[in-house]
């Protein structure tokens, strides 16, 4: 290690002197631009069915399940971790809720939330205290949760047609806005406040930014790491209730690849996979972006291969924009 004094940074062009928040804001503005482009393109390609209030509310409703999960995922990724198990966890949480369905909506909700938190805690314990690498720990949970879902449900979906509250939660409306969308927005707002306006959020980003420095500053790093996976589990529980409500059933085979959708949304929103830089607004926009694309391409009845290529290209473009801003 050289002992030569470090040079002061020479004068650079103004963009790199922007405070951290502004740099992230550029990424978010870029995404708003992308959303605008999609809306305009959709209005032109499918006039009459895309830009209707009915369809837009439909898109919001569809975005809500992965959206809630993505908010939780943002915290996980902010610490430099990752959670590959959220999709399977949704199935497991739904199914456990379903086991209590006969005792009413409240028990269903408690069951689903409880299972989500429980599985999240298992991830959390393995990663924070067991020192297992997040990728591996959550990969293991990915298979375990799916197995649990199939096992507990005996591979059969359970109808929850009678649970009025749960079905309303997923399908109902609040003054004309889908309740699922309201839940998504509420979770987004709470997530934003938590990340940006509380001590906890600051600690989360510190742990992701420089673990050792965070420790020296007195932050209880294992506890913070533990908490984000539990938080993800809670979001999974909420998402499970939403999904089961929409399907009117608790099914063990749902949730396929939700983790990839959530991670993609978080990444194109501007949160760094390496940790230390996170934006809830970006995640929200990322989720909306993908939901809009899926909706538009289905409306156009485009072959699925084209949908997948389009999605991949957007992810690539978003990451390239991110790199340029750094």
């Amino acid at each position: 290690m050289s002992t030569a004094p470090e040079a002061a940074a020479p004068q650079r062009s103004s963009s790199s002197r922007l405070p951290k928040n502004t740099r992230g804001a550029i990424q978010e503005y870029a995404l708003v631009g992308v959303v605008a482009v999609i809306l305009i393109a959709g209005a032109i390609i499918e006039p009459g069915s895309f830009l209707t209030s009915d369809n837009m509310l439909n898109v919001l409703r569809q975005a809500s399940v992965v959206g809630v999960i993505a908010i939780g995922m943002t915290f996980v990724i902010a610490t430099g971790g990752i959670d590959l198990s959220v999709g399977s966890m949704v199935a497991a949480a739904s199914v456990v809720g379903g086991q209590f369905a006969d005792s009413g909506s409240a028990m269903f909700v408690l069951g689903a939330l409880g299972m989500g938190i429980l599985l999240g805690s298992v991830n959390a314990g393995a990663i924070a205290y067991g020192k297992v690498v997040p990728f591996i720990a959550t990969l293991a949970m990915f298979t375990m949760a799916r197995g649990l879902a199939l096992w507990i449900s005996d591979k059969q979906p359970k109808s929850i047609f009678d649970l009025e509250f749960v079905r309303w939660f997923g399908n109902g409306e609040v003054i004309g806005i889908p309740s699922a969308a309201v839940v998504f927005v509420a979770v987004t707002i709470i997530g934003w406040l938590l990340l940006n306006r509380t001590r906890y959020g600051r600690y989360v980003v510190a742990v992701g930014g420089n673990r050792e420095a965070a420790r020296i500053a007195g932050i209880n790093v294992p506890r913070i790491v533990f908490s984000v996976y539990v938080l993800a589990g809670l979001c999974v529980g909420i998402a499970a209730v939403l999904l089961s409500g929409r399907l009117s059933s608790a099914s063990p085979i749902v949730g396929n690849l939700y983790e990839l959708d959530a991670i993609a949304a978080v990444v194109i929103g501007g949160t760094s996979l390496a940790g230390g830089r996170a934006t809830i607004v970006g995640t929200f926009l990322g989720v909306i972006t993908f939901a809009l694309i899926f909706n538009l391409l289905t409306l156009m009845d485009l072959a699925v291969e084209i949908q997948q290529v389009t999605k991949g290209l957007i992810i690539l473009a978003a990451v390239l924009i991110q790199r340029r801003e750094r």
Partner: protein, 345 residues
Amino acid sequence: MTIKRFMLPLLLVAALFAVACGSDDDESAGDSEQATQATETTGSPAQGGRVKIAFSAPGADHGWMAAITENARKEAKELGDVDLIAAEGVTDSAAQADQVETLIQQKPDALVLLPNEGDALTPVAQKATAQGIPVVVVDRALEAPGASRTFITGDNYGIGWQAGNYFADQLKCKGNVVEIQGIAGIQVTEERSKGFRDALKRRCPDGGIKIIASQPADFVPDKGLSVMENILQAHKDIDAVYTHDDDMAEGVVSAIENAGREDEMFLTGAGGSKAAMERIEKGGLYRATFLYNPTMSASAIRLARLIVRGEGLAELTEPEVPSQITVPATTVTKENVAELKELGF
């Protein structure tokens, strides 16, 4: 510290050695055995002793596939004289091939196999056959002739065909139809789609029935839900929905019911799940399903046992088990659902 670091690679090398040495012995079996497989049996089970059957199917992340494995196990237990050795289901073709490789090391009397992908599993099936182990393949075909003794499959094309005919009758050759497919690109999906379209073309040559949307929903209900929600936005006049799978159709049904448009159209599924049967019985939106019954794995176990015993199918005059059996795709509607309900998975 140094020893620990080398442990893992050492163990891996040792394991590789063991496998390599194990498989070397079997190379000498040669191909001459293959020609005589149809008539020869393997010793004492033919005299009525216990039959050891190896079973491999892909990992069950889907109700149908889970039922396949479940049915095979149940059948083996019920038969009483069958020892079933099964591998844990995996979702990767290469992994399944490795598992089958391991299974046949245990020298079973027969192998019942549902390959994740036909091409990937063909070499290992050929190997089993070469070693004198008759192979009964279920549902998905292998690529080479002579790689298996008997092939039992459902009729994916037949499902589509029957559905097409059903739609032609119900709609009287006029209407807007939406197709919700399974996983895009796989053989099951392609055949179910092709059969449907061929039947429509034949029954309604003037094109009165239009397929206005065709999107995959990967055989899962949550995707079925989202896809159908979007299609409902795009089209305000739908007469019928053809789905490739009952489990997936549950999501599609939810979307239609949530939108309050169940009176506008009818829907069909495929596979034959219990839930579908119940809906058909109740009547309304869900009008029919087409069997693709996971009981075929149970039948495969029975067939394997017969082959090992050197017996044929009782009702046929031929003395041996046929080399290909296609289980028909029975149409299940309100009329006949009561008798067929017990087959639901």
